[in-house]
């Protein structure tokens, strides 16, 4: 499945999810991936098909995993953790 949209979600969609979005953009740039759209949102605004991958903190997984594939972060602002997990995910999906 092609990955066109990544959505970062958190409780209210204003703070944490934006910080994650910034980090996702940094990682994609480093990986030289330019055709994935990244956004941030409140958990309550997530719906099935809204994105091809949801990047979230571990406390959100129960709620969001029903809507599609999730990438779960232990430390939501850790760039190294995100870089490792996102690189593995995109490699596994054949994007990079």
């Amino acid at each position: 499945m092609a990955i066109k949209k990544i959505m970062c979600a958190c409780g209210v969609g204003l703070g944490s999810s934006f910080l994650v979005e910034m980090n996702v953009n940094k990682v994609l740039k480093k990986l030289n991936v330019h055709d994935i759209e990244v956004s941030h949102s409140a958990a309550t605004d997530v719906y099935k098909g809204a994105a091809d991958l949801y990047v979230i903190g571990k406390d959100m997984n129960d709620m969001i995993s029903a809507y599609g594939p999730t990438l779960v972060l232990d430390n939501i602002v850790s760039l190294p953790e995100l870089e490792k997990k996102l690189t593995e995910y995109l490699t596994e999906k054949g994007v990079i």
Binding site: L14, F18, D59
Partner: protein, 150 residues
């Protein structure tokens, strides 16, 4: 940008709080007192926490308590609370000593400040220097001083 969102009267250093609800309460109070949020903003964050978990605990030591604009924000602003003794929002969560309370008016106007906060909290040395600050003035200085980076 971030300078206009953080005022000395909204910075406090406290010894300890008894539980996470008190942590939210005290960390929002300066913004209530100075008129940036309505008092219901406190309960808004507590209610959100019950629904979504402690979504604002970002990293070891750091929480960014906030709710939605319609939950009582009057105008955008930050407050900082440094705790000498850490508090946990969940039993398996991080010890938190730095609470950066955010009041956002809408989905966009606070994003520049958040970028600056992201820089600060990703710098462990800077976080430690803020936690060790002895006065509110020192917290403000540490928070606003430019990080030396490559």
């Amino acid at each position: 940008m971030i300078e206009t969102m953080l005022k000395i009267e909204n910075i406090q250093i406290l010894e300890s709080v008894k539980d996470w609800k008190e942590a939210i309460h005290v960390s929002v109070m300066p913004l209530v007192a100075s008129g940036y949020v309505e008092e219901r903003y406190i309960q808004g964050i507590i209610d959100n926490t019950v629904h979504y978990g402690s979504y604002y605990v970002l990293a070891p030591e750091i929480a960014l308590p906030h709710a939605r604009p319609e939950q009582g924000v009057i105008s955008k602003q930050l407050a900082i609370t440094v705790l000498r003794n850490p508090i946990r929002f969940t039993s398996d969560g991080y010890d938190v000593r730095l609470l950066i309370t955010l009041a956002a008016e809408d989905g966009a106007s606070h994003l520049e400040a958040l970028k600056a906060i992201a820089e600060i909290i990703s710098d462990e040395q800077k976080v430690q220097s803020i936690l060790k600050a002895k006065t509110s003035e020192e917290v403000l200085t540490r928070f606003l001083e430019k990080t030396e980076r490559e």
